[in-house]
């Protein structure tokens, strides 16, 4: 082998090795994140965490029960609003859309998807908080639902389009009309993917803090209704982490562990349901 070829071989091995290193470095950040959260948060996750209200710094035994419940409230409401809208919009895009209008809707949905969540928060603030003169869980839910709609619409559309044409035509050929075909044949055929897309979307919005910062704000106590400021897990993490107190920092770690565990479990479960090869919308 010539010296030149030996050098080329050396470069080959070095560069390919470098690429492998890049891959392992990037993937390992996931484990680093998990590791730190477990190490710092595991000791603080106790029964108190799930059942007690937050206490002022320095006092032991506080928890984040209101944030957990508050998050659940806000996310559930956002889901109730956003999921149906996204779902039906997705059906429209897949089954009914003509060329121009559907193209516009799709394009705008992707646009909406790309808007930073804090800007969505500003919008919800202008529309609900300003006229009402107070922060509310409703405003927070609205902001989150606006994020859920385009995600759900595009993923629903994608999975509906994957249903083979033959199935559609089979149903129509039997005399069923279009909406029957959609409702009884196509949607059921795509239901796995659609549900997965929905789970992923809900998991995504439950981790968001930015849109809630000035819509649902926060609450040290239980909130009694939808029109009150409400505590939520992501916002609590932010406030506790940026505070000056050690035990509030510990609370932040615990909350972070709980939140991440929920989000990751939902993601893992959803992605395992989807057959290999189908790629999820970005």
């Amino acid at each position: 082998m010539t010296a030149r070829n030996a050098r080329r071989k050396g470069v080959n091995i070095f560069m390919l090795g470098l690429c492998a290193a890049c891959a392992f470095v990037t993937v390992s950040t996931l484990f680093v994140i998990l590791g730190f959260l477990l190490y710092n948060g595991a000791t603080s996750v106790s029964l108190n965490f799930f059942t007690k209200l937050p206490l002022p710094p320095g006092q032991d035994g506080g928890g984040m029960a209101n944030a957990i419940v508050g998050s659940a409230q806000i996310v559930i409401m956002a889901t109730l609003i956003g999921l149906p809208i996204g779902f039906f919009a997705g059906i429209y895009l897949a089954e009914y859309g003509g060329k121009t209008f559907a193209f516009m809707v799709r394009y705008v949905a992707d646009l909406l998807n790309g808007i930073p969540s804090i800007v969505i928060g500003i919008f919800a603030w202008t529309v609900i908080v300003v006229p009402a003169h107070h922060f509310s869980a409703l405003a927070g839910s609205m902001a989150l639902s606006l994020m859920l709609i385009p995600i759900t619409a595009r993923s629903t559309e994608q999975f509906l389009l994957e249903v083979p044409r033959a199935m559609r035509e089979g149903s129509l050929a039997l005399g069923a009309n279009k909406w029957r075909t959609i409702a009884k044949v196509i949607v059921p055929a795509a239901r796995k993917g659609i549900m997965t897309g929905m789970i992923l979307g809900v998991a995504r919005i439950s981790g968001e803090a930015a849109p809630l910062l000035f819509t649902s704000l926060n609450n040290q106590y239980w909130s009694t209704g939808l029109s009150e400021p409400t505590a939520s897990l992501p916002v609590m993490i932010f406030l506790r982490a940026t505070s000056a107190y050690e035990d509030w920092h510990r609370q932040a770690w615990a909350a972070g562990l709980v939140l991440l565990a929920l989000v990751l479990l939902a993601n893992i479960a959803a992605r395992m349901v989807i057959s290999r090869g189908a790629s999820l919308p970005r």
Partner: protein, 272 residues
């Protein structure tokens, strides 16, 4: 020296008349090649010789292993997952399976079924091979480009647009560009895998003329599903069936007086 490969109980006695014209040692020889895709055995005990400065055609029905066999000659099958080869392949008497693969591939060039120029200019496509192989130290890039394009009978058609994109020329011209690109590294053997299957008859004719002229400079092995093409360009022809080499002989003999029944059936169109 008999080069008939006896695969079935039907025997055939080689005669003087069936001995092809050849030089002293074959340029390339494959001995007892078994090849596996995972668990599937795609080639069974294939042995064949390729004489210097001759054109050998490999024919056979779809899926018979002729392309698979060709791709082993420059070890490009190694880039696929889970492949395994047994046997020996020699170039000028040396086993290529042990050697540094990049050097082998410079000496044994390949042209693929569909034209696959790089997304660069015509000039840069041709210069790529010489550049990475360090050949530009002795000869200038412009010289190599002109020489290769002339050898591929493409120079006159593209000499004024060397720096335009390779995709701006027709399919037939792109394939000749790929031939020029392969020739630019001065290979001793040129392998062509159904090079005309994506081209129209006129483009095909140009390439066939080209190949007949090229054999004086290198040894050519061409896989083709077009029997008339084999008859037109090849000195010897090998017939593959189900992963085995059934018969290899002078092209005339294969087409007019084959020894094996399977060959005769294929030639006369009973299958394939």
């Amino acid at each position: 020296m008999a080069i008939n490969q006896i695969q079935t109980p039907m025997t055939s006695i080689p005669t003087e008349a069936s001995t092809p014209v050849q030089s002293a040692t074959p340029k390339m020889r494959a001995s007892n090649i078994n090849f596996f895709y995972g668990k599937f055995k795609a080639l069974h005990d294939v042995s064949i010789e390729f004489a210097s400065n001759r054109v050998t055609a490999l024919i056979g029905p779809s899926g018979c292993g002729k392309s698979t066999f060709l791709r082993n000659l420059n070890r490009i099958n190694e880039t696929l997952r889970e492949t395994r080869i047994e046997g020996q392949i020699t170039l000028d008497g040396e086993n290529i399976l042990d050697k540094d693969v990049t050097e082998i591939r410079r000496r044994i060039g390949m042209v693929f079924q569909r034209p696959n120029p790089f997304p660069k200019s015509i000039f840069d496509n041709i210069v790529y091979g010489p550049r990475i192989n360090g050949m530009l130290k002795k000869t200038s890039a412009a010289e190599i480009v002109e020489k290769s394009l002339r050898r591929a009978a493409l120079w006159d058609e593209v000499k004024d647009k060397l720096h335009e994109s390779a995709y701006a020329i027709s399919g037939g011209q792109q394939q000749r560009l790929c031939i020029a690109r392969a020739l630019a590294v001065d290979p001793e053997v040129l392998l062509l895998d159904e090079p005309c299957s994506a081209l129209d008859p006129i483009a095909t004719a140009k390439i066939e003329d080209l190949l007949v002229g090229l054999k004086h400079q290198c040894t050519i092995v061409i896989v083709t599903h077009n029997m008339q093409q084999a008859a037109r360009v090849a000195d010897t022809t090998g017939f593959f069936l189900l992963g085995r080499l059934i018969e290899h002989d002078k092209t005339d003999v294969i087409f007019k007086n084959p020894s094996m029944k399977e060959t005769e059936d294929y030639i006369t169109g009973r299958f394939g």
